[in-house]
């Protein structure tokens, strides 16, 4: 036998004997949790830096910028944050592999702000089995707040989609109880969640919905759907769509001379998009549009000119992402959510453990996040795990969104459905 081959064979036999040992050395986290040292906390995340959802990659970059800022200003309880952010290309299998790597190789303390419903659904069981905090996932599906008993290590952050559309339903019932509602929605869990919320909010008045039309992210435009919705005779249009399709929908409606009252989901409401609609189809296209807010809009320069939170944001962007587009709300989302993450770590104290972090996460109130809409609280309790539940409705006034009421808390609306 070839000597090299023999050596390899010997090694493989030796490793077979070693096998029993290594299999039994898998011990759950004890006193010293992974990812925390005297001067460092390691956090890991994945974002789509390539592939169809690359726009959201900037959330990860915003997070990185905030952590850099924090580290340059003393860190958290004497520790700096090491942020490892990998490209999952929005693919669940890819994300699962990367999360294994983050947990087993990079020994992260917690996984933070993984993005997308499918990705998070795929990695949730593994992280919960291994007792790794799976914090503030970037998706608004209801499951992140609702299923904490089954998945105690997982929690969301942003308002859930259902709550937002319940809010629209309440607004409609109040302002235009005779409305005939048409719905344009993205054909996936995100759109379905909005639809479910709308129906819940309308309750016994669901027959106000006269027509629903879905679109696929592979559709070149939504003019056909808008024609269908228009011909239903509806006078109110719900747009549950990502920015590109929401813009197209408003433009198409105007071009078909249809001017319904429009409810626009908040993922698509940033000011440059509204201006884009006006540029393409004239001011009549945005004459009657209502949306909700829970974060500040970085493109709203007039409103936030002297806002200290926005100044902080601009300072961070200028220093750490000098080439980034400050108006891009994804960066702001990242900075804002990283602020909450840092806040939680700070409150968990000097003697940091995963358990302590989860205790904080499931029972805390953050009043001073600099980038949420003024007054919005981020809070949870052991039995209520939807961190952001407050939103404000606003109407488009040609250059800016003008709040139409006071902050509304959707807590009661959500808990009503959580009990069910």
């Amino acid at each position: 036998m070839n000597p090299i081959f023999r050596r390899i064979a010997a090694a493989s036999i030796a490793s077979l004997f070693a096998l029993g040992v290594s299999a039994s050395t898998v011990v759950p986290a004890s006193a010293a949790d992974p990812g925390v040292s005297a001067n460092e906390i390691v956090l890991g995340g994945t974002h789509p830096f390539s592939g169809p959802a690359s726009a959201y990659g900037n959330i990860g970059k915003g997070i990185g910028a905030y952590f850099s800022y924090l580290n340059d200003h003393g860190g958290i309880n004497g520790r700096k944050i090491k942020w490892i952010d990998l490209d999952d290309a929005y693919s669940p299998p890819q994300a699962v592999q990367l999360v294994h790597q983050l947990v087993e190789q990079d020994k992260v303390f917690a996984v933070f702000d993984t993005l997308g419903t499918a990705v998070n659904t795929a990695i949730r069981p593994y992280l919960n089995q291994n007792g790794v905090p799976h914090l503030f996932v970037a998706t608004g599906a209801t499951t992140w707040g609702k299923d904490y008993k089954q998945f105690p290590w997982t929690i969301g952050w942003q308002p859930d989609y259902q709550a937002e559309s319940i809010l629209y339903a309440k607004e409609i019932l109040q302002s235009t109880p005779k409305a005939k509602i048409a719905v344009l929605y993205q054909n996936d869990d995100y759109g379905e969640d909005y639809n479910a919320g709308l129906k819940k909010g309308l309750g016994s008045h669901q027959n106000m919905i006269v027509k629903m039309a879905s679109y696929e992210t592979s559709d070149p435009n939504v003019s056909s759907q808008i024609s269908t919705l228009k011909s239903s005779g509806a006078d109110t249009l719900m747009i549950f769509a990502t920015p590109k399709f929401a813009i197209q929908a408003m433009v198409a409606a105007a071009q078909q001379s249809w001017h319904p009252k429009i409810y626009l989901n908040n993922v698509a409401n940033t000011i440059p998009y509204m201006k884009a609609v006006e540029k393409a189809a004239g001011p009549s296209a945005t004459a009657n549009v209502i949306t909700t807010y829970y974060l500040k809009d970085p493109a709203n320069h007039a409103r936030y000119a002297n806002d200290p939170g926005m100044k902080l944001y601009e300072e961070i962007m200028t220093k750490y992402i000098p080439n980034g587009d400050k108006d891009d709300g994804n960066y702001l989302y990242g900075v804002s959510i990283a602020y909450t993450m840092a806040d939680v770590l700070r409150r968990a104290g000097k003697d940091l453990t995963r358990k302590k972090v989860m205790d904080v996460v499931s029972n805390f109130t953050e009043k001073d996040n600099p980038l949420v809409y003024p007054g919005v609280l981020i809070r949870t309790s052991p039995n209520f795990r939807f961190p952001i539940t407050q939103m404000i409705t606003a109407k488009w006034l040609g250059s800016d969104w003008s709040p139409t009421g006071v902050l509304t808390d959707t807590r009661t609306l959500i808990s009503g459905q959580a009990v069910k």
């Binding site: 081959f5 390899i8 299999a23 830096f49 490209d87 699962v96 795929a122």
Partner: protein
């Protein structure tokens, strides 16, 4: 026909030994990644046979992976069937569908087939979403993670690793037997000189369809392991990018040899990670440029290129008795 040379045997033995030892010397997350390498290698093996040996370009084998993955997932999720029944059934299902699509493919040549299979890959996610009651729609289906059976002293990742590579070994072996026999001879004859082959009584319809079906079977098995390892399937798992990735893997690895399938599996698993290291801002630029460069300078892929290098360096051309064909160019 060629006898199995002792060189080939040695290489296979070496490969088996490497596969056996690797999980004990690499970190555990890599063991998990290597499960995906096994799945990719199985799927790419199908493309080596279909595209390399049979000359049919498929940009749609992700669709068969989807079918395989969903068969396993639906049976496990809905009916609670174990994976060892699910995977063979997935292979059967893909074989059956592969025959049908293979028959269609007979009528399509070259780039036309590439376009048609590309269409299949692009349409797959919308079909998966459409049949919600079975597939769970966009939200997909969550599965129970694999654990080693009682009595086997392995953790879940090592168990999955050995099972997936064991199955990969069986797939490679069966494919080798197929290709070395009458089937392989017929395919090569049809590819290199179709008119002569037909006049010698080789029925192109039967063999080409069978090649398509077999490659679908392999993709289905790979899809099954994808589902099992991820413990989750969704339309996003099997986006059209997966189909393209598979073909890219086959070509980068070397589409003329089985070893190319192995190399291809490694490349498509790890190239994205490397690309991210090179340029975190735009990993796909690195990926795309790398792809073009390889095609310009080593069009027969990593394994093909290496073989050429070894051959021209150490053997006179006539002594090259390696059981690998020279790539033919049309």
């Amino acid at each position: 026909m060629k006898r199995t040379s002792s060189g080939t045997l040695l290489r296979v033995a070496l490969a088996v030994a490497v596969v056996a030892i690797v999980p004990w010397i690499v970190p555990s997350f890599l063991v998990f990644d290597l499960v995906f390498v096994a799945a990719y290698a199985i799927a790419i093996l199908g493309l080596v046979i279909l595209t390399g040996m049979n000359g049919q370009i498929s940009l749609g084998h992700g669709a068969f992976m989807a079918l395989g993955g969903y068969v396993v997932a639906v049976l496990a999720h809905g009916a609670g069937w174990p994976y060892w029944i699910g995977v063979p059934l997935a292979a059967l299902a893909c074989g059956a569908v592969g025959i049908v699509i293979g028959l269609v493919a007979l009528r399509l040549e070259g780039v036309y087939l590439a376009l048609a299979t590309f269409s299949l890959a692009v349409a797959t996610p919308s079909f998966l979403k459409h049949f919600k009651s079975v597939t769970g729609g966009f939200g997909g289906l969550s599965l129970n993670p694999v654990t080693a059976p009682p009595g086997v002293p392995l953790d879940a990742q090592h168990w999955l690793y050995y099972v997936s590579w064991g199955v990969a070994g069986v797939c490679f072996l069966l494919s080798a037997l197929l290709v070395r026999g009458k089937f392989g001879r017929a395919l090569r004859a049809l590819r290199d000189n179709p008119i002569a082959a037909v006049s010698f009584g080789v029925n192109p319809y039967v063999y080409k369809t069978l090649a398509f079906a077999w490659s679908a079977v392999l993709a289905g098995i790979a899809g099954g392991f994808f589902a099992i390892a991820t413990a989750y399937v969704s339309p996003d798992t099997f986006s059209f990018a997966l189909s393209i990735t598979l073909l890219i893997g086959a070509v980068l690895g070397g589409i003329m040899t089985f070893w190319g399938a192995l190399a291809g599996g490694v490349v498509i698993e790890f190239l994205p990670l490397v690309a991210q290291q090179v340029n975190a801002a735009a990993p796909s630029v690195v990926y795309g440029v790398a792809l073009i460069l390889v095609m310009m300078f080593v069009p027969d892929g990593i394994v093909g290129g290496l073989l050429r290098l070894v051959r021209t360096a150490s053997f006179p051309p006539s002594a090259a008795s390696v059981a690998v064909e020279q790539p033919t160019r049309e």
